[in-house]
């Protein structure tokens, strides 16, 4: 681990934080502003992965393996969630014959 730690210290931590923040924001923006459900799911994945990246970076920086262990948890959750999300997507396609999320707007007064 020490080699990873020393290696990773070459790039300051802030760079990783900014990168991940940027990726996360892109993901959030995508979830909020994109209409295609598949893109929204991918953006959700993007958000999760950006968090993963950041956790790994921190874990490497502080030589604490707990961060990387947590990444595995997140990956599992992401996988499960993608499965369910894609299932919803398929149901959506079958019912309204489109993947435009703005067409599902009955949850109102």
């Amino acid at each position: 681990m020490e080699t990873v730690t020393t290696a990773i210290r070459i790039i300051p931590l802030e760079h990783y934080i900014i990168l991940c923040a940027a990726l996360f924001s892109i993901g959030v923006a995508g979830v909020l502003f994109r209409r295609n459900t598949i893109i929204i799911l991918m953006c959700i994945e993007l958000m999760l992965n950006s968090v993963n990246l950041l956790l790994t970076a921190f874990s490497a920086y502080h030589s604490d393996p707990a961060g990387q262990v947590f990444v595995f948890f997140i990956m599992v959750v992401a996988a499960a969630e993608v499965a369910v999300g894609l299932a919803i997507l398929v149901m959506m396609k079958r019912n309204i014959n489109s993947v435009d999320i703005n067409l599902l707007n009955r949850l109102k007064w």
Partner: protein
């Protein structure tokens, strides 16, 4: 003999019988066929009259007699203690005699007059109710009982003016009378309140005894007398509350005779006379009464000159004579006012009933331009009408002469100008009354010919007329002034009940004789003038649509007072009613209330738009919320 107190103790019989008559006639109406209701009503008033006569004999023997009869405790709360009690003294007995006596004659007359009316029973029931209320008024021992009777007669006046209720304008006249009376009553009740808070009681005896040593002209007493005066103005049809009386002629003629000539309208005069102890301490109010009385007397007399309805002439004549009574009151001659009230009751009732006889004979015609020459057809009516006319004009030895002359003498002692004005009024009175007499009975027959010529009224109507004519002739003899060697018994009778105004001078006999002769000459001239115009020249007043010069038109239109009241009071009020309802109520207040209610709906509608179903929007809001809390956290810590 019998103890006077015992007799007075049972004086509640007097109002009881008319009340019983009212109840019998109204509740058992369907069992009373024929003229029975009329007999019952007349009988009850007759019994009251007899009992009043008994009481009169007591009072005649003892002028100071004053008995208070308490029936029960009417209102007693927090120091406001009003017993339901009657006062029997010379003044109340005099009024009782007039009410029941003249009332009895009118009741008997009505049996004939109202014979064909389908609501005969109801008529007599209401007449009895009226008599009951009027008796309460004159027998009451405190201002509240007086007020109860006061409003009671107002009610009966309303009922009886609108007796033939199928006519809309009669109902309007009745309403007008009631509302105008009520305006006066407002003033009256304020006076009563002020009386209570000043003296702690409303009983006549207690108030008047507390007035010993009170100085004249205090503000409180002046206010009290002014308020009471407002009430009297409404009830006795003086300026400015007089316009209801001519309209009240819509009622049957016996009603005009009883209520609007002999009794109800005199209630104001009675009330002020009863309160004389207060009024002598209020010189300002007394002056005001003089002005109003004289003004009314003259105004009404002028208007009467141009009236062509036989009853309207008599109505304005009543207003005018009431003005004379008020003049007398204002001059401090309280017993003269009551004396004139008495004689006026006789001859005015007579005149109205005789007019009723004429109307009856001509099958409802009331326009004197369509009468004439009735002397030969209705001899009795003619002679009694003549008697009444002589009485009202003040020709000796008729009763009107004595009463009016007394007032004129008082006017001269106060101020010669008042005498001149009052005398002019008397001349006008004489003129228009003889105009009425001549146009109705003399000259050619201007009435439509009927299948049968007009015939004299039946005995049941004629006998009361004759009796009233006798009274109009002889009624003055109870109060022959010293000038003619009499002892003014009437004035002396009433003296204990009335206060004495200060500054009372008497005239020398020489002056009195001079004034008397002058007035008699002028009166004779007035009669002659009337004879020339209406008999010799047979002038008949023009039809209503005649183009008249402006000064004639104003008087013919009664100085446009009715129109003015309508324009300034009635129309704005009705306009206000609809406007306030539409604009204030509907548009403003209701809008505000509904607006507040709608606010809730509107707010809900706005917030509802947050729930638009758009998933992206929901997600956006979630993120925004999280960011908001983060930033809040950063700011706070």
């Amino acid at each position: 003999m019998v103890n006077p107190a015992t007799l007075a103790y049972y004086s509640w019989f007097v109002p009881l019988f008319p009340l019983a008559g009212f109840l019998v006639n109204s509740l058992f109406s369907r069992f009373l066929k024929g003229g029975r209701a009329g007999y019952i009503a007349s009988l009850s008033v007759g019994i009251s009259f007899l009992y009043s006569l008994i009481l009169f004999f007591i009072v005649r023997d003892n002028h100071q007699f004053a008995y208070t009869l308490k029936l029960f405790s009417f209102i007693q709360t927090a120091g406001f203690s009003i017993p339901f009690e009657f006062l029997i003294d010379s003044l109340s007995v005099t009024m009782m005699l007039i009410v029941t006596g003249v009332g009895l004659l009118i009741h008997v007359y009505s049996i004939g007059y109202m014979k064909e009316d389908e609501r005969f029973n109801e008529f007599f029931a209401q007449m009895n109710l009226f008599t009951f209320s009027m008796l309460l008024l004159v027998m009451g021992a405190n201002y509240l009982i007086l007020f109860i009777g006061w409003e009671g007669v107002g009610l009966c006046s309303y009922l009886l003016i609108g007796f033939w209720y199928k006519q809309a304008d009669y109902n309007l006249a009745a309403r007008k009378a009631f509302v105008m009376n009520r305006i006066g009553d407002l003033g009256f009740i304020l006076g009563i309140f002020l009386l209570f808070f000043t003296f702690g009681t409303l009983s006549f005896h207690e108030i008047f005894s507390k007035l010993e040593g009170v100085s004249s002209g205090t503000l409180t007493i002046s206010l009290i007398t002014l308020f009471l005066l407002i009430g009297a103005l409404g009830k006795s049809a003086q300026i400015p509350l007089y316009t209801w009386l001519p309209d009240a002629m819509a009622g049957p003629t016996p009603i005009s005779a009883l209520i609007h000539a002999a009794t109800m309208v005199t209630a104001g005069v009675y009330m002020i006379a009863r309160s004389s102890a207060l009024y002598v301490l209020a010189p300002f109010t007394m002056t005001l009464i003089v002005i109003i009385g004289l003004a009314t007397a003259l105004l009404a007399a002028v208007i009467a000159l141009y009236q062509n309805d036989i009853k309207k002439v008599l109505a304005y004549s009543t207003v005018s004579q009431l003005g004379y009574m008020f003049l007398a009151l204002g001059l401090g001659a309280f017993s003269s006012a009551v004396f004139h009230l008495t004689t006026h009751a006789f001859f005015k009732a007579l005149l109205f009933l005789a007019a009723g006889s004429v109307i009856h004979a001509l099958h409802g015609e009331q326009d004197i331009r369509k009468m004439g020459g009735l002397k030969s057809f209705l001899p009795y009516t003619y002679w009694v009408f003549l008697a009444g006319t002589l009485a009202i004009s003040g020709i000796p030895p008729f009763s009107g002469f004595f009463s009016k002359d007394e007032i004129l003498v008082q006017a001269w002692t106060a101020n010669p100008l008042l005498y001149i004005l009052a005398l002019s009024g008397a001349l006008l009175t004489c003129f228009y009354m003889f105009r009425l007499l001549f146009l109705t009975f003399s000259g050619e027959n201007r009435w439509k010919p009927f299948t049968a010529s007009p015939h004299e009224s039946p005995a049941v109507m004629v006998i009361p007329l004759v009796l009233l004519a006798v009274l109009s002739f002889a009624g003055g003899f109870v109060n022959i002034p010293e000038l003619f060697g009499g002892s003014a018994s009437f004035n002396r009778l009433l003296a204990p009940a009335l206060a004495v105004a200060s500054g009372h001078h008497s005239l020398s006999h020489h002056t009195e004789w001079t004034l008397l002769l002058i007035s008699l000459l002028l009166l004779a001239g007035s009669i002659a003038l009337g004879w020339i115009i209406f008999v010799k020249m047979s002038r008949v007043p023009g039809p209503d649509g005649l183009i008249r010069p402006w000064y004639n038109r104003i008087v013919f239109k009664k100085f446009y007072v009715d129109e003015a009241y309508h324009y300034f009071f009635v129309r704005p009020y009705e306009y206000l009613s609809s406007t306030l309802f539409e604009n204030l109520e509907r548009n403003v207040i209701n809008r505000i209330v509904n607006f507040t209610g709608n606010l809730a709906f509107e707010a809900g509608a706005v917030i509802r738009r947050l729930q638009n179903g758009n998933i992206s929007f929901y997600a956006f809001v979630m993120v925004a919320g999280i960011l908001f809390f983060f930033i809040l956290n950063l700011i706070i810590t």
